[in-house]
């Protein structure tokens, strides 16, 4: 059996959805002028920028959302299945800093850092998708959103979890994706990317979030609502109250999105968190934050929508035991929750800092979590007696044919990042100079990046992507292509 963790029972799920539907009717949700006409045409009352969504309309919109869809890799193969109990992971997104591999201190991220992270994630099978992971400080802000995506498309063939922080950015990013896919229609048929769209808590669809929902729906490119209730600050302090707010934000977003294009793919996602009452920080690594993610995803599953969460990151500043504990625990919990896409790996310091070394450590936690949800299965008619019939009480299982045939299915083999069977103090082979976790992780980063080869891209499309970047980059004041110039030279 597949192990599962559920935090809510059915009566509670029903109450959550019922209260969420009440909330979007009264007090309603703030919406941008951009979508007022769309909503009024559908019979939604909008007064002073606040939309009051009728329950029947909300339920109809929810019923029309596809239960599943795929993201495709560059070669057109379905690579990420959103829906059901499938669990995938991608690195965290859009942070400003990177933990420098040499100094182990945070510093502003550059395009070259994002390139290395994309190369690394390309080499790690634990990551089904890439993310536009870092804000590149050597790229002008106006070009930042699409430039991140450009680098990912240039260096990766995996699907991408991305997002636009403005209306013009979204247009540029959809143009880029269409160039890479061979046209807008090809992109609609086989979307390569999903776009995070964030309502502002509580219940506010800002201009660019509203525009993104509509723009994505019409382009047929999947949207991923990332609702971020901050329990105790911008959302009710109770976990259950924040889950209701999350549901209300998601449902109101689904209505706007489905009105723009019925049946367009959309994800019930989020980055909920608790507000720490001692420090006022948004704790991304706390157990309550993981509980919120699981509960929110459970509501989405109950409604039949694909799901997303934000886990596998840490509030800690360094790659230490706290980072391992928070990230490892939440990777396991997210997998047990059956969340379709779990973003966040590699991140430290309340999602302010990325780390290549942490990404490879997190990959180990993800691999373990995936082993866990693969569960315990019978592999033969008898569970143990047939093997005992061969060995008797000799205890000699290593020689058995079954052992050789089955051990790969039973055991996951971590990389050398995990210290298992290394030098040991107990037999005298260990020493204080043995590489620590950071050193082992750094070695693996170097090995994987060195082994990376850029996936082939049709030369015409590559030329089109680069031409786009040069043209649009020039408008934003870029006279070279950071992270790429060297490759071209």
């Amino acid at each position: 059996m597949r192990p599962r963790l559920e935090l809510l029972d059915r009566p509670l799920l029903e109450r959550i959805v019922a209260e969420a539907l009440q909330l979007i009717e009264q007090p309603g949700a703030r919406v941008s002028p951009h979508v007022v006409e769309l909503l009024r045409d559908a019979g939604v009352q909008v007064e002073n920028g606040v939309a009051h969504f009728p329950e029947a309309l909300a339920r109809k919109a929810l019923a029309g959302v596809p239960h599943e869809f795929y993201l495709y890799s560059r070669d057109g193969q379905p690579a990420v299945h959103y829906g059901g109990e499938d669990v995938h992971f991608d690195p965290g997104s859009s942070c400003l800093n990177i933990l420098d591999s040499e100094t182990q201190q945070p510093r502003p991220a550059q395009a070259a850092d994002l390139v290395r992270m994309v190369q690394l994630a390309e080499m790690l099978p634990e990551f089904a998708a890439q993310s536009t992971a870092m804000v590149c400080n050597d790229v002008p802000q106006d070009a930042g959103d699409w430039y991140r995506l450009f680098l990912v498309l240039y260096y990766s063939s995996k699907p991408v979890v991305t997002g636009a922080f403005s209306g013009p950015s979204l247009r540029a990013m959809l143009d880029l994706l269409a160039l890479e896919s061979g046209g807008a229609e090809a992109l609609r048929q086989k979307p390569r990317a999903v776009f995070d769209v964030c309502p502002s808590p509580p219940l506010n669809w800002s201009d660019f979030a509203s525009q993104n929902l509509v723009g994505l729906a019409r382009a047929g490119v999947p949207a991923e609502i990332v609702s971020m209730p901050l329990a105790g600050a911008t959302a009710p302090v109770t976990l259950i109250g924040s889950v209701v707010q999350h549901a209300a934000e998601c449902i109101s977003g689904v209505v706007i999105h489905q009105l723009a294009c019925p049946g367009a793919p959309i994800v019930w996602g989020g980055a909920p968190a608790i507000f720490d009452m001692r420090t006022g920080v948004t704790s991304m690594g706390s157990i309550e934050t993981a509980m919120l993610d699981l509960a929110c995803a459970q509501v989405g599953k109950y409604l039949g929508l694909p799901t997303h969460g934000y886990l596998v990151n840490s509030d800690g500043k360094y790659l230490d035991a706290q980072a391992g504990m928070e990230s490892g625990t939440s990777a396991v919990l997210g997998a047990l929750g059956g969340i379709n896409m779990i973003s966040g790996a590699g991140m430290l310091d309340f999602v302010a800092c990325h780390s290549l070394e942490k990404l490879v450590v997190d990959a180990e936690a993800i691999a373990s979590a995936k082993r866990l949800i693969a569960g315990i299965e019978p592999r033969s008619d008898s569970l143990a007696t047939a093997m005992f019939a061969k060995t008797g009480l000799s205890g000699d299982f290593l020689k058995l044919q079954e052992t050789r045939a089955l051990f790969r299915k039973e055991q996951h083999f971590p990389s050398a990042v995990i210290d298992r069977g290394g030098p040991s103090f107990s037999d005298g082979s260990g020493s204080a100079e043995a590489p620590d976790l950071f050193a082992r992780a750094h070695t693996r980063v170097e090995e994987l990046v060195a082994a990376y080869q850029r996936p082939t891209l049709d030369p015409d499309r590559e030329q089109a992507l680069v031409a786009f970047a040069e043209r649009e980059g020039a408008k934003a004041g870029l006279n070279s292509l950071p992270g790429i110039a060297k490759v071209l030279a």
Partner: protein
């Protein structure tokens, strides 16, 4: 009699009890206590105690918010009388606050505003999505000593630098001290963009604002010499 009243005032702030705080303020006026004494010997020591308890992690943010609300309730009773007597509580400073352009997250900035107000600052909150030009206009209009810029998003944090540049261009930079804060903001970032101070949370912003005011007045007295 008045010692017990001051102790009760102090306690009403620690308890975060606005009704009690306001009622004690009313009673003190009827009893003929000087309002400035009530402020300085009753309520303000309450806020100091709350700050200390918070620093020791024995009180939490919701407690602190309630204390600030109690302080506001007491001052709303005492302020008219203070004005009438011409013994207004000395202002700790004039602060203009806002969440930077492109960002609409205001919880952190509002916390800072509440706490600074409770600690005697005159606070003008410009709200969210505030441009450098709006900050500049408010600095002129309010004759501000300090500004506080907040941003929650890594992507909007860069606006803080832009706003500093606008203030430089408008010739206002030397007139104000600049505080920055928000989830992605660091001390290093504050230095990099030429801000004067960084508060890691709302509680530390109070001490930061006080120390920036001291820096400013020390500078002013040196210039006057």
């Amino acid at each position: 009699m008045s010692d017990a009243t001051f102790a009760a005032m102090r306690q009403s702030i620690i308890d975060g009890a606005p009704e009690t705080a306001a009622e004690l303020a009313q009673q003190s006026l009827l009893a003929g206590l000087l309002p400035l004494d009530s402020v300085n010997l009753g309520y303000v020591p309450g806020m100091h105690c709350v700050g200390e308890e918070f620093a020791q992690r024995r009180m939490f943010l919701p407690d602190m918010m309630a204390s600030a609300e109690a302080m506001r309730a007491a001052m709303s009773v005492l302020d008219p009388e203070l004005r009438r007597l011409g013994t207004e509580r000395p202002r700790a400073g004039v602060v203009v606050l806002g969440t930077v352009k492109g960002d609409i997250h205001e919880i952190g900035k509002c916390l800072v505003g509440t706490l600074l107000t409770a600690h005697g600052f005159e606070v003008y909150d410009l709200g969210v999505d505030v441009s450098g030009e709006k900050f500049a206009a408010a600095i002129r209009e309010r004759n501000a000593d300090l500004i506080g810029m907040s941003s929650l998003l890594t992507t909007t944090m860069k606006q803080q630098r832009t706003i500093v540049e606008v203030l430089e261009k408008e010739g206002l930079r030397s007139r104000v001290k600049i505080m920055v804060g928000g989830a992605p903001v660091t001390r290093q970032w504050a230095q990099e963009i030429g801000a004067d101070g960084y508060g890691k949370d709302a509680a530390t912003s109070v001490a930061l604002a006080h120390s920036l005011m001291e820096d400013a007045s020390r500078l002013a007295s040196m210039e006057n010499r």
